[in-house]
């Protein structure tokens, strides 16, 4: 049976146009075949004499089936001569399907052993403890089939119907930290357990899991560390101190104008201006920015501005705003918000705590007028801001009420001196007089 179209699998001989004994020539029409589409005349590609019709009329056979045998024209015309099929059967057997190169993706080699949400839900419904099931999935994960094998569906019998979902990432963290998710209170949508809930239990940092301890223990440990650092600073660093009062009138009125045009959520606070001004000023006085290590000062190209933040349960940390000299006021504001939030939730990365190149402490909110701080080694300078308040101020012979702040500098005399320090504070003051340039 010849293939008469790309979609033809089989055909029915409706009429033979030749009979045994007939001579046939290449191109002769020998039969009519009915396909799914229509009746089609079948031609022959051989010369010879019809020996036998192998498929009778009315019978449906698949493509490649021998329909008739011929005695070939060249062969001697004796009985028993080899017969040639009208249409030789297809030579090639169906090839195995090729290995797909793109449709099926090989599983990642280091797939974490975490069950899918579906499997966990099923296990919960059927009351199966996944820890007891042997997984047959990729990398030994428990599959749906594994759960069903352990606990086939029985009408009327259900395990816990209350669904407590948890994110794949939360599962992964829990697995890594050896935490049983049972009993973890979820804070996500619908009470689902998220990564932060697991961290809350494990008290692990996102990138550097630390050994679990109670918050009180951690606070004490931090206080000890800060104490040791400050003692070292006072012991080793020859501090000098400067202060200057800065007129913030221009900054305050600029802030008021700008905020009036903004939705509440986008409004700026004075602290962001103070930080921006400090970051840009320090970029111009390199002796203030960097680390003093092993008797040598290495200035830093980037300004990683450490911001002293008091923690809710006491203690003080100064994580860094990286590349602070490049931040716009808006970016400074949002980064500051973020840093404070994460600092207070214990979500800081360890690197943020170690790579500050200068620190700013702002105690104005506490009503302090001025602050002379202790430098954080290996940094070489610390800037302090007191409260922003109105005070009498004389300019060009006139006395008026201006908004002011006292800025202080604690400097490391091994690296800089009062002259450089004074220039630095003057630069901060200058920048704050032109807030629109920030």
């Amino acid at each position: 049976m010849p293939s008469l179209g790309a979609d033809m699998d089989a055909g029915t001989i409706t009429k033979w146009l030749v009979h045994p004994g007939d001579r046939v020539h290449r191109g002769d029409i020998v039969a009519v075949v009915q396909t799914d589409k229509s009746d089609i005349e079948v031609e022959i590609f051989e010369e010879g004499t019809v020996d036998e019709l192998a498929v009778p009329e009315g019978v449906r056979v698949s493509v490649g089936t021998v329909l008739a045998h011929l005695t070939s024209a060249s062969a001697s015309n004796t009985s028993g001569s080899p017969a040639t099929p009208v249409t030789p059967a297809t030579s090639a057997s169906p090839a195995p399907p090729p290995a797909s190169s793109s449709a099926v993706r090989p599983a990642p080699a280091n797939l974490p052993l975490v069950e899918s949400p579906l499997v966990r839900r099923l296990a919960q419904r059927r009351g199966v403890d996944l820890a007891t099931v042997t997984g047959t999935g990729v990398g030994g994960t428990v599959t749906r089939g594994d759960v069903e094998a352990v606990a086939p569906f029985t009408p009327g019998v259900t395990g816990s119907t209350a669904r407590q979902s948890s994110s794949p990432y939360a599962r992964r963290l829990a697995r890594d930290a050896g935490i049983d998710l049972e009993g973890v209170v979820g804070s996500g949508p619908g009470g689902s357990v998220l990564a932060r809930d697991v961290r809350g239990v494990a008290a692990v940092a996102p990138e550097k899991p630390a050994p679990a301890s109670t918050p009180e223990e951690r606070r004490r440990s931090m206080q000890r560390a800060i104490g040791a650092l400050m003692a070292r600073s006072k012991r080793e660093v020859p501090h000098y101190y400067l202060d200057t009062t800065i007129d913030l009138s221009a900054a305050a009125s600029w802030l008021e104008r700008t905020n009036a045009e903004r939705p509440v959520a986008d409004r700026l606070v004075m602290a962001s201006l103070l930080l921006c001004a400090t970051a840009r000023a320090v970029a111009r006085v390199p002796e203030m920015n960097g680390h003093y290590v092993d008797g040598e000062f290495s200035p830093s190209a980037a300004v990683n501005l450490g911001v002293a933040i008091s923690q809710r349960r006491g203690g003080l940390i100064a994580p860094a705003l990286r590349d602070a000299e490049q931040l716009s006021l808006d970016e400074m504001m949002s980064r500051l918000n973020d840093l404070v939030r994460r600092a207070r939730n214990g979500l800081l990365r360890s690197s943020e705590l170690s790579d500050s190149t200068i620190t700013v402490t702002n105690l104005g909110d506490l009503g302090v007028d001025r602050v002379f701080g202790v430098i954080y080694p290996p940094q070489v300078a610390l800037v302090g801001f007191g409260r922003v308040h109105d005070r009498p101020w004389a300019t060009q012979g006139l006395l008026g009420v201006h908004t002011c702040v006292v800025a202080t500098l604690s400097g490391d005399h091994r690296v800089s001196d009062g002259m450089r320090g004074g220039r630095f504070l003057t630069e901060i003051a200058r920048l704050l007089r032109e807030p629109e340039e920030l």
Binding site: S167, P168, P189, D330, S334, R341
Partner: protein, 322 residues
């Protein structure tokens, strides 16, 4: 470099190409005497003449096909299809010829063609002029599909696109032509997505016209203490999966913003890749903010409702419990 508009950035790029390579010519509806529907090619006819700035009849299939033929004949055509809506009339040429010839011919015939077109909604031009169909084109093997969202990309993507031996489609969101910025002098690549805003709490994936929406949402979220990272896809095909997955692995949450319709969209592709390759990093289901699945209505308040807005993205992030 001074501040220029997106429109000027594209024009500078075209002009630079015309000056540096005499095989380059521009062809399309109203690119010459009219100066370009979006005024992108304004002044080029006067400078380069009608042979290299060719006004065409309203025959999208005809002149896109002619661009393919000219590319086969050794030229480097820049074909402007006025808008993505009209590109449907040339879809046969783009898919069956431009995208397929290299493969069908067993590697013999390259089609070094660049097709630019405007895309997107936001101007109250209703159902037949507001499509974002770049996701359809991103479906087709053999094409490189670009979505410049910044002045830099508008200025710098054309040169490497013309160097590409294969067809490149550039989708310029119509709302971006008037935006301003200062282009850098640096060359850009045509392979990688870009992190346009660093952040730790959630990844917002966007491209073209939705990049601004994503950045706007990130700013609102920042005030709530949510630090959003924004990924600009830049290249819609081939997708830079590594950057997307890397971003999600960092923040553990993803929202995909796409001005196309949700079903079968580019956002669906991005979301799929995230679930395929970053599933165990996800702290929440991937969310999508797409256009409503209606032909674009004319009335302004309805159009706004259809399109992804800053508030929609913010709401999607909030719903994840970030």
């Amino acid at each position: 470099m001074s501040v220029i508009t997106y429109r000027e950035a594209v024009r500078q790029a075209i002009r630079e190409a015309l000056i540096s390579d005499d095989r380059v010519f521009v062809m399309g509806e109203d690119v010459g005497h009219y100066g370009g529907t979006y005024a992108v090619t304004l002044g080029l006819l006067e400078e380069f003449g009608p042979e290299r700035i060719r006004d065409t009849p309203l025959s999208e299939s005809g002149f896109v096909g002619a661009g393919i033929g000219a590319a086969l004949g050794g030229m480097r055509p820049i074909v402007e299809v006025m808008t993505v809506n009209f590109s449907l009339l040339a879809l046969d040429q783009i898919m069956n010829n431009a995208a397929s010839l290299l493969y069908m011919s067993g590697g013999q015939l390259n089609v070094p063609l660049v097709i630019r077109m405007a895309t997107g909604a936001g101007r109250q031009v209703a159902a037949q002029h507001s499509h974002s169909l770049e996701g359809w084109y991103a479906h087709i093997p053999g094409l490189r599909v670009l979505a410049p969202a910044t002045i830099d990309d508008a200025r710098r993507m054309l040169a490497p696109a013309l160097e590409d031996p294969d067809p490149v489609l550039i989708f310029e969101h119509a709302m971006l032509y008037g935006t301003e910025g200062e282009p850098s002098q640096d060359a850009v690549d045509l392979t990688s997505a870009a992190i346009r805003r660093a952040g730790d709490d959630v990844t917002i994936v966007a491209y073209g016209g939705t990049l601004r929406t994503a950045l706007g949402a990130a700013q609102v979220l920042a005030a709530e203490g949510i630090d959003a990272q924004v990924v600009d896809l830049r290249i819609l095909r081939p997708l830079d999966t590594a950057t997307i997955v890397g971003a999600v692995a960092h923040t553990h949450r993803a929202v995909v913003v796409d001005e196309g319709w949700r079903s079968g969209s580019l956002s669906a592709e991005v979301a799929s890749r995230i679930t395929e390759e970053a599933f165990y990093d996800l702290d929440a289901p991937v969310a999508r903010v797409c256009s409503a699945e209606v032909p674009m209505p004319y009335a302004k308040h309805l159009e706004d409702e259809v399109m992804p807005q800053v508030d929609d993205v913010v709401a999607a992030v909030r719903a994840m419990g970030a």
